[in-house]
Symmetry: C2
Subunit: 675 residues, 2 copies
């Protein structure tokens, strides 16, 4: 009879012979099988649960005896009695291999598992986190061997867990001694190893065995809003999401006005840095509270942002980003102490990873979108547009990926629009205009009913959000209220009492509760602002298509929190994006945030995007003469009729053109006009 | 004719063949010869000066032709004209090898040179600094290759200097862009590579070529005083030295009272941390100002201190150090950002190295003394005593090294002494008492003359410093004013009007300018304080001698700023240290400071002391019963007469004993008394 036994692990298929009596956990480690364990085989953490097979396994040519594993022992019985063990499950650290056996490692017992998360995008989140929790029993201090508590801990990490040369920041050392004593020299420590050439770091420590997950923050730091997700580092689950306004708005609504603020005010950059760092700390605090997790268990963060926000976050004066050649101070990914970006409200020794920047105007947010959407993995040609105050545009396939950014301004976010507001309850987000009667109906955020139904009731209507204004302008165009040049017709021209003259231009009244309530209109200035924004977006996309040498793309992905709410049909009516079949337009939700979350959950994702960013061809819109050409050419509103009538009511109207003889309104002077 | 030539470098003796036409600098690099260069061979920094030999070199079997090197070229001529080149010197980057040649690299052209410094100890300082300055020409940013300024700099460091994977902290990135532009894309950068597994770090950047040295701070953080040296990282020269009181004194004079303060006051440890960190920043500022160097050129610091100060500096509550087993939070050397210990007044990205701790009561200051004095390199047995508020004691030879610390208290520093004061102008530092007349004469700090000479004048006399009180007590003993138990005799017993009764004890008046000036006396309480301190010191030394199994040592080294001023004879009269021949007692000056300076100047020194500390046998005095025994036994003042009469005036007096029937004064109750 042989002294060793064959063990086959599924689903990995890894196999090998081990000495009889070897525990399943030890066998898994020996064969490089991904089997979790926090307590290191002490039978207390239950992370190493396995499902042994019994009977015939023709695929493996194996017949497994019922006693292939040692009988359930006292540790397992106790665990089952107190905590409950699923039928057929064993603790890998207790069950010993007695003869040839097939052992299944269920997904929840794998560290590097792929977790499918139900979300807007149903994204598979691959788990390969940099920080993991391990349980340690630290030898007590002895006067005849006066090593530091941390050195004895580090030795255990090396001996028990194979973690070599672990270090600790002073912030961790400050908490270490009382925690070790409180836990009776048993502790759970969060060990960070980003496999980036730096020594492993102990980030946090708890007395005794801590079974709750470790957490991380995925932060999407936008010019206007800062969004954060609190994520479990065990399975990538989002426990809480929250957003707040970027407090830098008071220094300038768009990026270039903030750069100007820094240039013109000594200490201005530092002031903006302090503001945004404080906001991040607030956001982290709010997320921890919302999810009910202790802030000390948040041990990592990832940040994505545009280059100006990136530099301001790090305290780097962004002045160079305001002028050609838009030189970045640093472009590569950064791994820092979280306190270096003001994240003082989480674990004191927490780490932060900031994704790489692509170019002077194409940020880590675009890198995160590229990571999330991965156009380089597809044969078809994807145009990915992340719409915000700045639009990040990526065009690519498995041959080549291009990227640029385009200064759309904040109109798409409801800013600089007369009745505009950010997306909040009471804001008009959907609108339809009857092409015959010119009468509108709409829906507001926080109300599931259209305004022309009795169920709508009499809610407060506060303004128009970004997606609402796009629909409004597109519907006005399709209803013949606006001509191809963007000019709003008069009451006479349009044939509707909803048209009101304001000086030499006209506006369209969507809702009028005056004098007691708001009067919500679309003005000529609003149309011009949307035209400027959509021309910038379209011109950026066209520039990349020129560079790629294509006239059309296979699919369009709208990313960004706002992109999730844009009606693709209306976007194409406006000419925001190139025409593609409507079923080839999809929303990626907050792709930048998803990319941040992927980088948070996986070191592999970090390494992938670091490599990929170097491969992306960067196009600088600001100095490309063709960008101006495309911008001017894209000013018109191309579609007078619904380009997708099969999806909507079919109404064909004659093309209209309003010639008032004067200037049509704000911004019109710079644009090509119909004669 | 061969295409290559033999080149022999002296003093290294390195030799090899290089292609003719190779520059001397390139040949040195190829052969691994230590030849400095900041500008990287551009002929502007002059650091690579060499002295080529001409003629016969029988030792090498070589005859060097006069034209073995290429003729002096325009770059060298210009340099010589403007800056002056010593006769026979060439610029290694310009002179090319044309035939077999012997080239001497003068010490000032070596990076890793040994520099002999004139100082109290004439120590040879081996230069192997972690941070060096290199000159770079950084490619300008291009829009079609939008890498960060730092990434382009890092690439130049790799290509031109072989420095791979350099990183930069945000603090450096904040200054990078304006500096690169100011220097027209030429810059001098300070690159730190401690060869400790961490990536190289850029610590500072200057526009153009910077020829001034980089600087470092060697800080000896004592319980009572903080001493700092500003050191050139080019040659180890001390440009300025300064000290200030440790502001933590207001929380407790000795370490244990500070530990108590931390235990009894919530936030007390943090308060003490803030105080000492602010003091370090002040000290650095003062040193930079004194030496007239820009604070940004101070790129490194090393710190030595006892374990309590170590933990308080890092913000670690020292509570565990107040009770057995005196567990350290961390014991190994630390490499941190200087800002982590509050050093905010030097280069923003500066680094700090904190030497390892030896044990719970034996600190990095003792490690620094061990580094400086290196008993492990000697055959004879050295007893090294670093006298301060805590005495660090090291006993060892090339077989074995032992260490302990002993709580002497602040008496040796003039504290807790009735007329005591710190060493400052006006303080009595030397004293002699005539054994017949019992009249004293003394010298004060800041005055080169004895008080009984006309040149002494009428200076203000303010008190007695630490070395003064030791001499006073020893002289009183030898003059028969004090008996072996430490009791001061009365005027009658001693036969001197300088004896004054104060209650049931007596005091000896050294100087009396009352009522208009100070009255400086040695009281019975002062004698007791000195007895306690010296007993603790002696007991520690004896404990190590017991452990080593020896009854005598070969030599005694007195270290510490105070040790430098102690008269060895008087120390032995008091029984502070074991008896050894007087010529075997030496002062090592501020050995802890010297050790800090060695670690500052040399990575090799850091690695050496890290290894050595692990080899040292640690003895914990606080729990060793024999320590108490030795302490009690050491209370007496052993020498009634000058033990080294050949070095002094020979007067032999009968042994005296004063029996007053009562308690002799403070502390006396705990001690063994003569019946």
């Amino acid at each position: 009879m042989s002294d060793d036994a064959l063990v086959i692990f599924t689903p990995s298929g890894k196999r090998g012979r081990v000495a009889k009596g070897t525990s399943v956990l030890a066998a898994a480690r020996k064969l490089g099988v991904d089997l979790d364990s926090v307590c290191g085989g002490r039978g207390i953490c239950s992370k190493c649960q396995v499902a042994p097979g019994v009977g015939e396994f023709p695929k493996h040519g194996l017949s497994v005896a019922p006693d292939a594993l040692s009988p359930i022992n006292a540790v397992e019985e106790r665990y089952d009695r107190i905590r409950g063990l699923k039928p057929g499950r064993r603790l890998g650290c207790q069950a010993c291999i007695q003869s040839d056996v097939v052992i299944d490692v269920p997904p929840e017992s794998q560290v590097h598992r792929q977790v499918i998360r139900k979300s807007a995008t149903e994204r598979a989140m691959e788990m390969d986190p940099a920080t993991r929790a391990v349980f340690v029993e630290v030898p007590e201090p002895r006067m005849d061997e006066p090593s530091g508590d941390f050195q004895r801990l580090a030795r255990v990490l090396e001996d028990d867990w194979g973690i070599e040369g672990a270090e600790a920041a002073p912030a961790l050392l400050r908490t270490l001694q009382p925690v070790l004593r409180k836990g009776g020299w048993q502790a759970t420590v969060a060990v960070h190893d980003a496999r980036d050439g730096r020594p492993p770091q102990v980030l946090a420590v708890w007395p005794g065995l801590r079974e709750a997950p470790l957490y991380g923050l995925a932060i999407d730091l936008g010019s206007t809003t800062i969004a954060g997700h609190l994520v479990s580092l065990t399975d990538g689950a989002v426990l809480a999401s929250s957003g707040l306004m970027n407090p830098q708005i008071r220094f300038g609504e768009d990026l270039m006005s903030r750069v100007s603020y820094a240039m013109m005010n000594p200490g201005g950059a530092a002031e903006m840095t302090a503001a945004v760092q404080a906001a991040l700390a607030d956001l982290a605090r709010a997320l921890a509270e919302e999810a009910g997790v202790e802030p000390e268990a948040i041990v990592e963060a990832t940040v994505v942002c545009n280059p100006v926000m990136h530099h301001l976050l790090l305290g780097i004066d962004p002045v160079e980003l305001g002028q050609a050649p838009f030189a970045l101070a640093t472009s590569e990914a950064l791994a820092l102490a979280a306190t270096e970006i003001g994240l003082t409200s989480i674990a004191p020794a927490a780490r932060v990873y900031i994704l790489p920047l692509i170019a002077g105007h194409v940020g880590a947010d675009a890198a995160a979108v590229a990571l999330s959407e991965a156009p380089e993995t597809r044969e078809d040609l994807s145009l990915i547009v992340d719409v915000g105050t700045n639009a990040e545009i990526i065009l690519g396939n498995n041959q080549r990926v291009l990227a640029c950014s385009s200064p759309t301004g904040p109109a798409f976010e409801g800013a600089q629009i007369s009745s505009g507001q950010r997306a909040a309850p009471g804001a008009i987000e959907r609108i339809e205009i009857d092409p015959v009667t010119k009468e509108p109906r709409f829906r507001i955020i926080g109300n599931d009913h259209w305004s022309d139904t009795p169920e709508f009731g009499t809610p407060e209507i506060t303004g128009i959000c970004g997606s609402g204004i796009i629909e409004a302008v597109a519907e006005m165009r399709m209803a013949g209220i606006v001509d191809a040049s963007g000019l709003i017709g008069s009451a006479e021209q349009v044939g509707s009492p909803r048209m009101t003259a304001t000086g030499r231009t006209h506006e369209y009244v969507i809702h009028d509760a005056s004098p007691s309530g708001p009067r919500i209109t679309v003005t000529q200035g609003d149309i011009r602002a949307i035209q400027l924004a959509k021309s910038a977006l379209y011109a950026g996309a066209r520039l990349l298509m020129d560079e790629m040498g294509v006239e059309r793309v296979d699919r369009v992905v709208l990313a960004g929190a706002f992109g999730a709410h844009i009606s693709p049909k209306h976007a194409m009516v406006l000419g925001m994006i190139p025409d593609v079949p409507l079923d080839q337009v999809s929303s990626a939700g907050n792709a930048a945030g998803t990319g941040a979350r992927m980088a948070l959950c996986s070191i592999k994702a970090r390494r992938h995007i670091e490599r990929q960013v170097k491969r992306i061809t960067k196009i600088e819109t600001a100095i490309e003469p063709r960008f101006q050409e495309h911008f001017v050419a894209a000013n018109a509103l191309p579609h007078a009729t619904d380009p997708f009538p099969e999806l909507s009511k079919v109404v064909t109207l004659p093309e209209v053109s309003f010639n008032t003889g004067g200037d049509g309104g704000a911004g019109g002077g710079r644009r090509r006009r119909r004669g």
